[in-house]
């Protein structure tokens, strides 16, 4: 795995500057936390890194994976996995279908794909869930499926857009541990955006505050 690097990133909307001259290196397996009140531009920063920033913003600077510059690439070719605030499981696909959508086509054969999906589900304590409709899952289960879906696509880095904020306190700690454990195991450079101090402490890495 390579580092996720930000170089002199500035973001503004109209005359308002949200981020100015941000540079950071996130090494494989490490986590950078970006904190700030709502509206400070932390989610816009994440959208810019993933390539989905609204055209109303102006942005300068570079984002790189190792030496590979991502700025000009469309979102789907950046190799960045994202966990959103909502799980965004596709309601028309089963749990297994959602995971199959993420699993690269290089994994061939129905049986092999099935095996990989079941294996992933087992690793998250969701054995036998492949045929379930996402609507029948609890919030915690859905969050785990969303994590598995993101990881199965074999991303080069992980972006976390306040993915814990909608879970209740008990689930939150547990799911947070699961996410960071997976990120460390796979040595994914991870960028977390949050407004919750507890998230930042759990992430354990450098904390950057925006909007101060």
């Amino acid at each position: 795995m390579r580092s996720l690097r930000l170089r002199q990133v500035s973001l503004s909307i109209g005359p308002r500057r949200l981020v100015s001259g941000l540079s950071a290196d996130i090494a494989p397996g490490e986590c950078l936390t970006v904190m700030g009140p709502s509206g400070c531009g932390k989610s816009s920063l994440l959208a810019w890194i993933s390539g989905t920033l609204d055209a109303a913003f102006t942005a300068t600077g570079h984002v790189m994976l190792g030496e590979r510059v991502l700025d000009a690439l469309p979102p789907e070719r950046r190799g960045l996995g994202i966990l959103f605030q909502d799980d965004l499981l596709f309601p028309h696909l089963t749990v297994g279908g959602n995971l199959g959508f993420a699993l690269p086509a290089a994994v061939r054969g129905r049986a092999e794909r099935r095996r990989r999906i079941d294996e992933a589900l087992r690793s998250a304590g969701l054995e036998g869930f492949a045929a379930r409709d996402p609507a029948t899952l609890s919030g915690g289960q859905r969050a785990r499926v969303a994590l598995l879906r993101t990881l199965l696509a074999e991303p080069q880095a992980l972006l976390l857009d306040e993915p814990f904020s909608k879970l209740d306190t008990a689930l939150r700690a547990e799911f947070r541990e699961l996410v960071f454990a997976h990120a460390r195991d796979r040595r994914l450079p991870t960028l977390l955006v949050t407004h919750d101090e507890a998230d930042a402490r759990a992430a354990g890495g450098v904390v950057l505050r925006l909007g101060d």
Partner: protein, 564 residues
């Protein structure tokens, strides 16, 4: 706790609305079915028999007419849906996609028949398309002897339907997108490595399919049973089944009514079977999309397919614009010899000469459209307001509103006409108005319901808390907030009424002339400059009303900013 009760007058609204259109549709269907089996005492049919079916089956060319009807109806629907879906898939993530709605709405306001007449002006061997490339490219110094308009395969008919239905389906698809977190789901799919078009097709389309089912069914039913466009652009011998029915009905010999009723019933059966078949197609399509998603194949080529579909959509838009422009040019052309690409000169003569005969039907068109839209708006607002005041979803029976969009017009208008003659109401303004209302109501309801249901009730609650009465809140708060969608849907209602051909013809017994009925009649033979004036005026009314509906709120807002 019981939900609060709505005003008693409002509680009557759904039942009243249902009665307004169920009555004529139901009575019309019965009035078609009975003669189809020989029962029409006024014409000596006093016992049930299969004789009408026997004469229908003996009609030469019936098989080809049925085949032509199915082929044109289905291909128009499948092509329209494919192009509409491809266009949205290609453009949904671009700024152009967000402006798409504003661009295509004017095509929706165009009456079908005016667009078809304009398209004929473009497609004919002596039309604009061939003029554009002759003689320098083709070497033709005379209009070539090739069949375009009226071609036996029906392709010009399909083209005209596609031209009109693609924008409708695009708008309906964009509307359905607002009801699901489509944008975020596309983002999620793109983060998994899928291009924008494939992300939309795999992650969003299967959810949207169910929501555009009704519009697709309406397009299918309409394409299978359309009369005016098929008369203008479709083949003549044999024509489509719907045109066959109308021809028989127009025959001076009333005995033709029996096979006509049987043919209308056959068409009804074909439409019902097609609607059921579409459900099967939809299920299959959805299953195929799901299987595609499971394979996990990231296919950049999908973007090209979608781009090709949206380019086709763009081409269709150009063709529609050319059709309208050619109407306008012919209506002011002094002389326009073949193969000149432009008229030799411009004149207002045709307009001045036609003014006398135009003004009557123009007034009738306007009166019918204003009255039908006003009545429909009143009923729809009452239904929707009843729904929100009683905090209940509309009764399921209100779904029957869509019935007139799914039943072929000839199948019940025929019976309705028989009934109106019995009641001596045929040919009256009121009868035509009622027939228009049957079609204006559902479209108005469809275009307003989402906006009305999306209204933030907290505005009303806070106004009530300030001590205002319900009526005052409705007039001073809710209606002004919802004015833009109300105006747009009124424009839709106006356009629907102004474009009606068959209901005007049949309920009016041919004695109520509107711009549409006259333009369609003229289209079969009159001078193009004359046809141009009629069709142009026919198109101009709904376009102007639509422009007003869009411009009014914009203008008021601009004025308010300027004053500040």
């Amino acid at each position: 706790m019981r939900p609060p009760a709505a005003h008693p007058l409002l509680r009557l609204a759904p039942a009243l609305t249902l009665a307004v259109f169920l009555l004529p549709v139901a009575a019309g269907l019965v009035g078609t079915l009975l003669p189809a089996f020989g029962w029409l005492p006024a014409l000596g049919g006093d016992r049930l028999s299969l004789q009408p079916w026997q004469s229908l089956l003996d009609t030469p060319g019936l098989g080809s007419a049925v085949g032509l009807t199915l082929a044109t109806g289905w291909s128009a629907t499948v092509l329209s849906l494919g192009i509409a879906i491809g266009t949205v898939a290609a453009l949904h993530h671009r700024p152009a996609g967000r402006r798409l709605g504003g661009w295509i709405a004017p095509v929706l306001a165009m009456p079908h028949s005016a667009l078809a007449i304009g398209l004929a002006f473009v497609l004919l061997p002596s039309g604009w398309l061939v003029r554009g490339v002759s003689p320098w490219l083709t070497g033709w110094t005379l209009p070539p002897d090739v069949g375009t308009v009226g071609h036996a395969s029906g392709w010009p008919l399909v083209l005209a339907l596609v031209l009109k239905e693609v924008p409708y389906l695009v708008l309906m698809t964009l509307g359905a997108l607002n009801q699901i977190p489509a944008e975020n789901q596309v983002r999620a799919a793109r983060a998994l490595g899928y291009g924008p078009a494939q992300a939309w097709l795999a992650a969003v389309l299967p959810q949207v399919l169910a929501q555009v089912r009704l519009p697709v069914l309406a397009v299918l039913a309409f394409s299978l049973s359309v009369v005016d466009v098929a008369m203008i652009l479709g083949p003549g011998n044999p024509p489509t089944l719907a045109v066959m029915v109308v021809r028989w009905l127009g025959d001076p010999d009333p005995r033709w009514l029996f096979p006509a009723a049987a043919a209308a019933t056959l068409l009804l059966a074909m439409v019902i079977a097609s609607l059921v078949a579409w459900r099967a197609v939809e299920v299959g399509l959805r299953a195929a999309l799901v299987r595609w998603a499971l394979r996990g194949r990231r296919q950049p080529g999908v973007a090209w397919v979608a781009a090709a579909a949206s380019a086709t959509g763009g081409f269709l838009g150009t063709l529609a614009a050319a059709a309208i422009l050619s109407l306008a040019l012919w209506s002011v052309a002094t002389q326009w010899r073949w193969p000149a690409a432009w008229p030799a000169g411009f004149t207002a003569d045709h307009w001045l000469r036609q003014a006398g005969s135009l003004s009557g039907p123009a007034g009738t068109t306007l009166a019918l459209a204003v009255a039908a839209t006003g009545l429909a708006l009143l009923l729809v607002l009452a239904c929707l307001e009843n729904e929100s005041q009683s905090r209940r979803r509309a009764p399921r029976s209100l779904a029957l509103l869509y019935l007139p969009l799914l039943v072929p017009q000839v199948a019940f208008l025929f019976g309705l006409q028989v009934l109106l003659v019995r009641l001596q109401l045929d040919g009256r303004f009121g009868a035509v108005l009622w027939a228009h209302l049957v079609f204006v109501l559902p479209y108005l309801f469809l275009s307003l319901a989402d906006a009305w249901r999306g209204y933030d009730e907290r505005y009303t609650r806070s106004a009530l808390a300030l001590g205002a009465s319900r009526w005052r809140v409705f007039w001073r708060i809710k209606l002004p907030i919802l004015l833009p969608p109300v105006l747009i849907s009124a424009a839709v209602g106006f356009a629907v009424s102004a474009g009606q051909y068959l209901p005007t013809l049949m309920a009016g017994a041919g004695r109520v002339a509107t711009l549409t009925t006259e333009a369609v009649t003229l289209s079969s033979g009159a001078d193009r400059r004359v046809i141009g004036t009629w069709a142009m005026l026919q198109a101009a009314f709904p376009l102007a009303v639509y422009g007003l509906a869009v411009g009014w709120p914009l203008g008021r807002r601009a004025l308010r900013r300027w004053r500040r």
